[in-house]
Symmetry: C2
Subunit: 656 residues, 2 copies
């Protein structure tokens, strides 16, 4: 006789083992958190001596599902900003909010809620990647789920680290502390090749290899990433990370939306796992991953929900179905990724993608008792046919819903019984979540209200408390002016073509935002460099006058790392105006002070004549006023002693 704590019987058992053994009248025995027997009910009733028996009432018994890639705590950001481009979503919403709010308590509440949602939908194991991963690990272990918890390392400052050295050290400590835990596999996550340096990839790989833990990373999520990699390194992403040594670790690569046959073979050869994230890839329009090809190559291919901020839920039933649908449609072959294989991806293959196939992913004696009961008697899953044995898989993948999950066990412990969560107290968590949502709402409302906050939020301008001193005037004779400037002490000179786009807003007190491309022109008139900058120009009312010179609060300038399109979607201007001009620019030293001199000609819209701008900056109002006086002297030296001041911006001069 086999001794067991518990015998589950009267279940339709889909073992999801490599031969897809199934027992329509099946049973399973658990002892000490381990599966000790699985087979037909009649046999197990005879062979197993169990302390307790549970009649499964004909429900379907499957291995617990494996969510192969998520950011659990981002549950608190679900629905924060949908229907946006990836860059606007990420840089305009996710990252500013994360910088402001992500802290241990945020991570704890988000992770616990995510665990509740996942358990309810039949997930027993997930691969997480986030900040404060020790908090994720604690919360998950407390709830009783299994997880690969991956501490993020980035080349930028992160919510939980000032520098990558800090996160690396934290990751190391976290892994050392948690290695060997029965439920938690600690892991390291260099976020993505484009957010890490080769040195960081190398260092992370060394940690993963040293502790023999998985390494979790985003790979080739978008076509842009592949193009950038080709441009920067002359190769797509997988060969690049291979060159960096990354594939020496037990890799779990999330997405792999855009990888080619060679890259698939490389990943296969390295025994890397891949997490396919169909909802996220569709919702963010990242593309269709080559799922059929990866399966053909024998990749350890799991399915993930990605974070609930880009999904917007943690429902593996939806992901399975979608994985199958997308594979069929994108290969024009309805026999692609049949139901049975989709369920395998959500269970056994998912476990192998996480390098946990020895523990979970199938109902086999010797594996840990991670399992799920599903009630397929619902109206939406009737009638049921039996002529084709694959119909049982088809019911789960094409018609079942996460709300059909009734019971969930991990490591022999019930986490869900008859749809009731046993290890998480949800109401206080929802209250805490609502509190975070209110604060985030206020933060975003304020952000949306202030151009400057929005500019700061995307990691741009610093608030510089300084003054700008400026005069602008028409130049009747540009040739004489150039001669006069060249007679001064010239520190350096430049020639640009400037393409400006001014964003106007309904609330004029916010000022205007200028997106500028500076084309640096060499002596032959060729462009040899381009610089992109974003400038927040305060409203006219902020200006003050000293003689005929403007003294104003200095502008906020940020490097414009994104496209005009990005800024247009992010700032949502009420109006737009384009101006193109030719600019000769000198930095001159005059009576011990440096001044910028611009000689401008407006090309588009065309405006007759040339304009002179003289500018300087300072931290002190008094110094600004002194410089304004000097500037009047400088105008005299340039042969324009009675220059008539032009107070308007070019944008106003040329009209709308």
């Amino acid at each position: 006789m086999i001794k067991a704590d518990l015998l589950l019987h009267n279940a339709h058992v889909l073992t999801m083992d490599a031969e897809f053994h199934a027992f329509p009248e099946g049973a399973l025995a658990v002892h000490g958190g381990e599966i000790v027997a699985v087979g037909p009910t009649a046999r197990l009733l005879a062979e197993v001596e169990a302390d307790e028996r549970l009649d499964c009432q004909g429900r379907t018994l499957i291995p617990g599902m494996v969510n192969a890639h998520t950011h659990a705590a981002m549950t608190l950001l679900r629905g924060l900003a949908d229907d946006r481009r990836l860059d606007v979503w990420l840089l305009g919403y996710m990252m500013p909010v994360e910088r402001e709010f992500v802290a241990p308590d945020f991570v704890r509440v988000g992770t616990l809620l995510a665990c509740g949602e996942m358990i309810r939908s039949g997930v027993t194991c997930f691969a997480d990647m986030y900040y404060y991963e020790e908090v994720v690990a604690k919360a998950t272990a407390e709830v009783g789920m299994r997880a690969v918890c991956s501490q993020t390392v980035l080349k930028f400052p992160a919510p939980d680290a000032e520098s990558y050295e800090d996160s690396l050290a934290a990751a190391r400590e976290f892994i050392a502390n948690w290695r060997g835990h029965p439920l938690i596999v600690p892991s390291i996550a260099p976020h993505a090749p484009y957010t890490c340096t080769p040195e960081i990839l190398r260092a992370c790989t060394d940690v993963a290899v040293e502790f023999d833990v998985p390494l979790h990373i985003h790979i080739s999520e978008t076509l842009q990433e592949v193009q950038d990699s080709r441009e920067a390194y002359g190769m797509p992403v997988v060969p690049w990370v291979k060159k960096a040594g990354l594939l020496e670790a037990k890799v779990l690569a999330a997405h792999c939306t855009h990888i080619d046959e060679g890259e698939i073979n490389t990943l296969k050869h390295a025994e890397a796992g891949v997490a396919h994230n169909p909802s996220s890839n569709l919702k963010l329009a990242s593309g269709f991953a080559p799922v059929a090809e990866m399966l053909r190559a024998g990749i350890r291919l799991g399915i993930g929900t990605d974070g609930p901020a880009s999904n917007n839920d943690l429902d593996m039933f939806e992901e399975m179905r979608l994985a199958s649908f997308i594979a069929k449609a994108s290969t024009h072959d309805p026999t692609s990724l049949p139901a049975r294989q989709a369920l395998a991806m959500a269970t056994r293959l998912g476990a192998s993608a996480l390098h946990l196939e020895h523990l979970t992913g199938s109902l086999e004696a010797g594996k840990r008792a991670d399992l799920v009961l599903i009630d397929t008697s619902g109206l939406h899953n009737q009638p049921q046919f039996s002529h084709d044995p694959d119909a049982a898989y088809s019911r789960l993948v094409y018609a079942a819903k996460s709300s059909d999950v009734t019971d969930v066990m991990v490591e022999g412990r019930w986490l869900l019984r008859e749809r009731e969560l046993l290890t998480i107290d949800i109401p206080p968590l929802l209250e805490a979540a609502a509190g975070f949502a209110r604060r985030i709402d206020s933060f975003l409302v304020e952000l949306e209200d202030s151009l400057l906050s929005k500019l700061v939020a995307i990691g741009g301008a610093e608030r510089e408390e300084s003054y700008e001193v400026q005069i602008k005037t028409r130049v009747p004779d540009p040739v004489s002016l150039i001669t006069a400037v060249e007679n001064l002490e010239v520190v350096r000179r430049a020639h640009y073509r400037e393409y400006d786009t001014y964003f106007g807003f309904a609330d004029v007190s916010q000022g205007r935002l200028r997106y500028r491309e500076d084309e640096f022109v060499d002596e032959r008139g060729d462009t040899f460099n381009v610089r992109y900058r974003l400038t927040l120009i305060g409203p006219a009312s902020e200006r003050e006058y000293a003689q005929s010179v403007l003294v104003s609060r200095s502008r906020f300038i940020a490097p414009a790392r994104h496209s005009l399109r990005f800024y247009r979607e992010y700032f949502k201007p009420a109006s737009e105006q384009d101006i193109q001009k030719d600019r000769l620019r000198w930095l001159v030293r005059f009576k011990g002070n440096e001044f910028f001199i611009n000689l401008d000609q407006l090309l588009q819209p065309a405006l007759d004549g040339h304009f002179l701008e003289v500018k300087t900056r300072t931290w002190s109002r008094r110094d600004a006023e002194e410089k304004a006086a000097l500037m009047v002297e400088l105008l005299g030296a340039l042969g324009l002693p009675d220059a008539e001041e032009v107070k308007q911006e070019y944008a106003d001069l040329v009209g709308d």
Copy 2:
């Protein structure tokens, strides 16, 4: 004061009217089945005098969803055959089962179950297309749902009609009887351009125009359909049906997966409605419909589930989400089809696709009271943000589940209250459905067991109770034989190249199946025609011998209208063998009887020498024996009196 039967208050009302008015603290008043007021709770509490008030507890109130294309009764075929190609699925499973089982009771049970499932998931109105549509209409009206019920017309015999004239007459009578019903809009459904003749399309249009009812049709579901239309008529599908006059009716075109810009404009100009069916199009790998383009053109574009045999459910939440996901991914633009617009497709636009926008699809005074309450307080929909007013749509489309629907009203009548169906008694229906499933299972098991049944099931061979008389022998001198044959009375002669594929099966008593391409060769050796045939060849044990001539039961022959690939997937042979030969064939008259003479040379696999086959057929065993005797005489006349009989089939001669 506004008089009302019922005032719903404390709801987050999304009216889905053309301006997307929404009332986070909203209310709605119903009187006599009509919406009489909608607005902020405070205002309606003051303005409306209601017999009854219902506190909606902060749930979201939306118009009832419109399932713009389905075959409700096919609920009974859910999960019958998944992961198959469209033709195998349709011709190999759906149509044989429908021919055998579809009858009024089947349609009634299937429709009622479908109504139950749809109500539970927030659908109040659907467009159906099936057989016995009068039964669908009765069941739907009884349950209290709104529907466009479309009687199918086909050029083939249908489960409910021997000929298209019969279905046309039935459709006419059905429409005349049901026109003006408060819930049911009767309609006519020429199934698809490729299953109808131009005359049928014309006749259906005339009926639809005469009674001013919608015309429901499948249009451009697959690329194959478009290619076939181009080949047959020199134009894609929409221009072709326009030419047939179809667009004179109020059309509801299902699928439109493959239509170009010109076709979109044609449909828009004709004010045709389109039903987009994302799950079905993905699951059957039909493709990605040009949703963004259709919306841009202003098409009346709804969302449908299609039948549960190709979906496999009737869940409009899934379809909305999928419509949005697919539009984003296929246009590489995550801002495509935002949540608000997806919900509009599932409500107001869906109603307009069905030409019912005056009745339903939005919460506006004057429309019928078709509405749904949704509980968004579930764990999977928390937390909730309010900084962006579109977040309410996002919650419904990207995170809500059909199981979140709590209450459904149609025409002022509650059909669902607190998740309980009020107008359908489900248990006896499930019992009836299980009975159908058992009988269909048996039918399919038997079908799978018998090659002949499978052949008959796909509309192929007729069972011919006749005898075949045949002798085969080696020919030492083919030139002399040709001379001898030409000296007989030759009725006609032909020259083929024959490409045969023999399917073998584990159960040899089933015989073999031969797929044959006959290439007709002209005098210059060029192919001028090709014929495809399928022949079921009984096992050797069925044969009898008379002298050296074989008399056997005749074979079953069917025109092979599908591809070798189709038959391979459908019959699932255990082995396959290819044989290619050159055949000269004569039909000769000899002593008052007709005989076929074949002079064969095996080309692939090559076999030395030539073979003669003499054949004839008859309905009578005695006649067969007399002809066998005559055949021996004929061999003498051909100069082969002592011909040694070759008893084997070519497939056996050449070995495996």
